[in-house]
């Protein structure tokens, strides 16, 4: 991967756009900026960027529409930039096919981490067999979870939950997505069972459930697991 990865930034605010572009260029990405939704859509079609950063509040088209149109023909990772702190809004964009979101105001480090994670998941070349970070180790083929080298006993559901999160480490997974993946498509909307299972997992792998090191909560949205250490950025 010697060619520089290209990133399309669809953002109408010039100040934020220039900040993002500068940060991305400084980190070795090639960036193209679009100030309107239509411009962004045509640029995405002609350039086929590796990642799209999409602001939801655009002057001409609603950000959701851009997201929908992009998803019609492309699997490019899309990271939504949102000034809206409403959690429902975020859940909607994620369920509509956005890979991740980042809320304004954000720092460069956060942005870079999100981009790296999206790139890793989109490449999908090498299916991971091991998830390892800090003192936690999961072997997917052996179906074992070890904390500080010792086996952790999890129930079937708990193991499925943890591996689902681990395979998508670094990404936020919505309650909806997790429920459908673990309990099947016909479960009701009550995610209490998921929350209780997560609470139990946390009691098994975290030292202090209120200060987790592995599984983080995005309240009202879902869960995000700590990035896999084995992964080296491209």
């Amino acid at each position: 991967m010697n060619a520089r990865l290209s990133i399309l930034v669809i953002e109408d605010d010039k100040a934020i756009c220039s900040f993002i572009t500068a940060a991305l260029n400084g980190n070795g990405y090639r960036t193209v900026a679009a100030f309107t939704g239509r411009e962004g859509l045509s640029l995405a079609a002609s350039l086929c960027p590796d990642v799209v950063l999409l602001d939801l509040g655009l002057p001409d088209v609603d950000g959701h529409e851009v997201l929908q149109k992009l998803r019609c023909w492309s699997r490019i990772p899309i990271i939504v930039i949102s000034a809206r702190t409403e959690e429902q809004e975020k859940v909607r964009t994620l369920d509509m096919g956005a890979d991740d979101y980042i809320t304004k105001p954000f720092g460069t480090a956060e942005l870079m981490a999100r981009i790296r994670t999206s790139l890793r998941h989109s490449s999908g070349n090498f299916p991971e067999t091991v998830y390892k970070t800090l003192n936690l180790e999961i072997h997917f083929d052996k179906r074992t979870v070890r904390l500080n080298g010792e086996l952790v006993h999890l129930t079937q559901i708990e193991y499925q939950l943890l591996t689902l999160l681990a395979k998508n480490s670094g990404r936020v997974l919505t309650y909806n997505f997790i429920m459908k993946n673990i309990w099947g498509p016909y479960t009701d909307n009550n995610n209490q069972i998921l929350r209780v299972n997560m609470a139990n997992i946390r009691r098994k792998i975290e030292q202090n459930p209120a200060q987790p090191q592995y599984v983080f909560t995005e309240v009202g949205i879902g869960y995000r697991m700590r990035e896999n250490d084995d992964f080296t950025p491209p």
Partner: protein, 361 residues
Amino acid sequence: MLKKLQFLRQRNQCIYSVLISLLCTAVPMGAAALYSRLAGPDPANITVLFVFSLIVLSCSATNYLYGILCSLLDVLWLGLTQDISLCRLLVTFVGFAVITVFIHTLMERSASQASLITEREKQLTEADMEKTRANLLRAISHDLRTPLSGILGNCLIFLENQPLLSEQEKRLLVVNVQQSSHWLINMVENLLSITRIREERPTITTNDELVEEVISESLQKMEKRHPDCAVRVKIPEEILLIPMDVVLIEQVILNLLENAVLHSGSSEPVDIIVESEPRQVTFTVRDYGNGIPEDRLNCLFDGTDYSAVHAPDAYKGMGIGLVICKTIITAHQGTILGRNHEHGAEFVFTLPKSRDQENPS
């Protein structure tokens, strides 16, 4: 002493008015008797005239005593001077008609007065709300202006004196701008959170949330803002699902933590202690610093004499933050208080458990 005097005065007034009303029934009765002796034995006319004159007077009189005196005079005047033996029936009919009209007007008037009173009450509460809103706005604009002028000033210095400044000085200026911006964002988030509590709705919409998740996310946000702050968390083993608006409660925890970190004047780790009680969950945010000055303890959450309290320590105070905490916790039917302990200050707030979570243990 004062109360006793007031009580006596009230009792005197009461006796006085009873006497007057007795007198006022006795005197027109006597007058009526006199009239019947002079004008003939038809009591219907007398009562009609009597009632009529009383109503006319009660209509125009504003003072109880004054009205009674007038009615008394009027009855006497009617009874003694007027010659109404012309046509007894006519007087009765006209009298009834006029009485009906007057009673009607009276009722109309009292109805319009009632609506006037409710209108005025509404205006008063609106004025009250307007006042709190104005207070809040004043405090906010004060709070916003200070960091903004800081940012502007720092930028101006940077732009105008760029060649003269050393790298370190430049860095300091930018760090100042960054800090002020952080503070502003924090402020705006607080204000946004308050818009979630709408006035039309009596309560907020709550969902059952895991206490540990709320705290862990607040801590994550806190770490972003103050990477070097240290927090210790003590939380019960049991799984606590509490109904709350999670964004708002997070805001409360963040405000309290930020207060503890910025104002305690100590770098000791802040403690967050969660305790489960039969009917509620108690959250304590405890710092080990200077504590709260005695004179501020009473007006921590009302934000009333905000600017006075606020002036000495520039914009770093979180007066608005605490007012917002109070609003949020009250909307959750919880309580919040701030107090000093041996080694610093602590803020305690409670959230009620949902009905089915209550247990007698």
